[in-house]
């Protein structure tokens, strides 16, 4: 059997190309034009086949399992199955490009995806080996295509829109972890003044809500400062490329509507555990929450506590995913408020001396 060695780009090449195409770097894509998705059948099939061949030969498959990205090796039996599927695809794509039915081609790739297991690109080939999404099928744009992309970015997105989405992702990563840690030790400070706080006439609802709002505002302030700095930087980029439009408030909008719910969730989640245990256990509980969010990008389901975009030219994806993002942010705001209500109740019990975890453990030990 003849193996066709195509020179189609691999994942890494595309990531590099995207890095080079970054607006923040010195080589801005509008001087060199940028990469655009290809819709040519033969190139898509060649690229997908090349990707599967190289995965098979190196026995290194990229999958997502329970939100974690990982590379796995397959057993000999599974490798044989993949090899047979590869032969089948080779036979099928040996026909003329016009005769290739993409649905049939995708069906074969899905078969390989099922053998590999987990959630991999071959399982959703129409998404990954086709237009509008990343991976494989990219080419240098013609002048007209580059102009269309430019118009989307500069006019539709107001230049700062795409950069603001990146900003939101990066800052949320930091806020989810560091905000959570700050909240834990802020609430633990109450331990030292426990008696004084219990004796005050102020209601627990008012006391805790004040603490919660104060903490969230404090955590949001540096984000707004960074947003101001980022706006100046984006303005400079807009000037450099003589953009037709510029959205001054893009960074502030994402700070309030995208990053604030993340901060609210992180603080509410850690404060609940801290109020319940009165120990810094919540810092350790943040680990699985943060680890699960980290490797996933361009995904806005309810399991994602942060909104993280892959790169700045994401206007198309943003328009498609906008309703999903709005639902996600409302969901996390609601969850945070529910967690705050539960925490207020626990905080009230603790203040009245009716909730003390160490005393509960001591009682259990005595009984035994």
């Amino acid at each position: 059997m003849k193996v066709n060695w195509y020179k189609a780009p691999r994942n890494v090449d595309i990531m590099e190309a995207m890095g080079r195409g970054s607006l923040s770097s010195t080589n801005n894509p509008f001087n060199k034009y940028m990469l655009v998705p290809i819709s040519d059948k033969s190139i898509i099939t060649e690229a997908a086949l090349d990707s599967l061949w190289s995965d098979y030969l190196s026995n290194d498959y990229f999958i997502t399992l329970r939100s974690a990205m990982k590379h796995i090796s397959l057993s000999k039996r599974k490798q044989e199955k993949i090899y047979n599927i590869l032969l089948e695809i080779e036979d099928y794509t040996a026909n003329d490009a016009d005769d290739i039915n993409m649905d049939e081609f995708y069906r074969l790739l899905r078969k390989a995806g099922a053998v590999i297991g987990g959630n991999n690109d071959y399982k959703n080939p129409d998404m990954y080996f086709n237009r509008d999404r990343r991976r494989v099928s990219f080419d240098l744009a013609t002048y007209e295509q580059a102009l269309t992309e430019y118009n989307k970015f500069a006019v539709g997105d107001g230049v700062s829109g795409g950069l603001a989405r990146l900003f939101a992702g990066h800052i949320s990563i930091a806020c989810l972890l560091l905000g959570g840690i700050v909240a834990v030790f802020y609430l633990l400070k109450d331990k030292k003044h426990g008696e004084t706080l219990s004796g005050k006439s102020i209601s627990s609802v008012r006391m805790f809500t004040t603490k919660y709002i104060a903490l969230n505002v404090t955590l949001l302030l540096p984000v707004l400062l960074l947003a101001a700095a980022a706006t100046v930087h984006a303005g400079w980029i807009a000037k450099e490329i003589s953009a037709a439009g510029f959205d001054v408030f893009a960074f502030f909008k994402v700070s309030v509507f995208w990053i604030l719910p993340t901060i609210m969730f992180a603080t509410a989640f850690t404060m609940l555990i801290t109020a319940a245990t009165n120990t810094p256990t919540a810092v350790i509980m943040l680990a699985p929450l943060w680890w699960a969010q980290m490797p996933v990008r361009d995904s806005f389901g309810l399991h994602m506590a942060i909104i993280n975009f892959y790169y700045e030219f994401s206007y198309n994806l943003y328009r498609i995913a906008r309703p999903e993002i709005i639902i996600n942010r409302i969901f996390y705001t609601m969850v945070s408020l529910i967690l705050v209500c539960v925490t207020v109740w626990l905080y009230h019990l603790r203040r009245g001396g009716r909730w003390n975890v160490s005393a509960i453990f001591r009682n259990i030990q005595k009984k035994h």
Binding site: K70, I72, H170, L178, W291
Partner: protein, 206 residues
Amino acid sequence: MFRLYLEIYKKNIKIFLLPAVFSVIFLTVVLFFITDPINCTAAYAARICQEYFTWVGIFLLAPVFMPEQRDNIKETILSKTMPTQTMYLIRLIQALAALVLFTAGLILSLSLLGGEIEFKRYFVHTFAIALLLGGLGFMGTRFSGNIGVGYIIAFGFYIIQMFLPDEIIEIVPYIYIFTLKNETSGIFLFYIYSFILIIIPFFKKH
């Protein structure tokens, strides 16, 4: 004298080591569940070690000064004739021993689960990163008197690493060390910085 040190060692197991070890066991179990490292490739094993497991260093080394945050323990320790540094050194030794054991355990289990791993390389790299992150937490806690600050310094450094520009990754300790071209000098940097971070807090009195 030896009996006294042994007694201190035993006491510190209860007030410091056990809570830290429990948290590390929890983290490791969660790590195995989230990353699912069965039959992982060398690159994926490297990611598990450098990005996820190294948090263990922070949770073992940062709480070394934590018992002193309770006033009664601090007063008891300060009233003794023995220098407080001895107490910290004993806890540090316990933490480092636990870190060595956990790191070796993780890498052994990864290779037993079918990962393609060179034990020595993975151990040295993972231990170095965990030691540096832990060292930052260790120093932050010592000088601020608050473990929260230690955690924030260590995790802040970890997060900043994600966004470091390529130009400076050769001169600062870069935690994605398996991706570096010159791993040896990278590792050397890690151990030098960790040594400094762990030694300096001992010069602070009380």
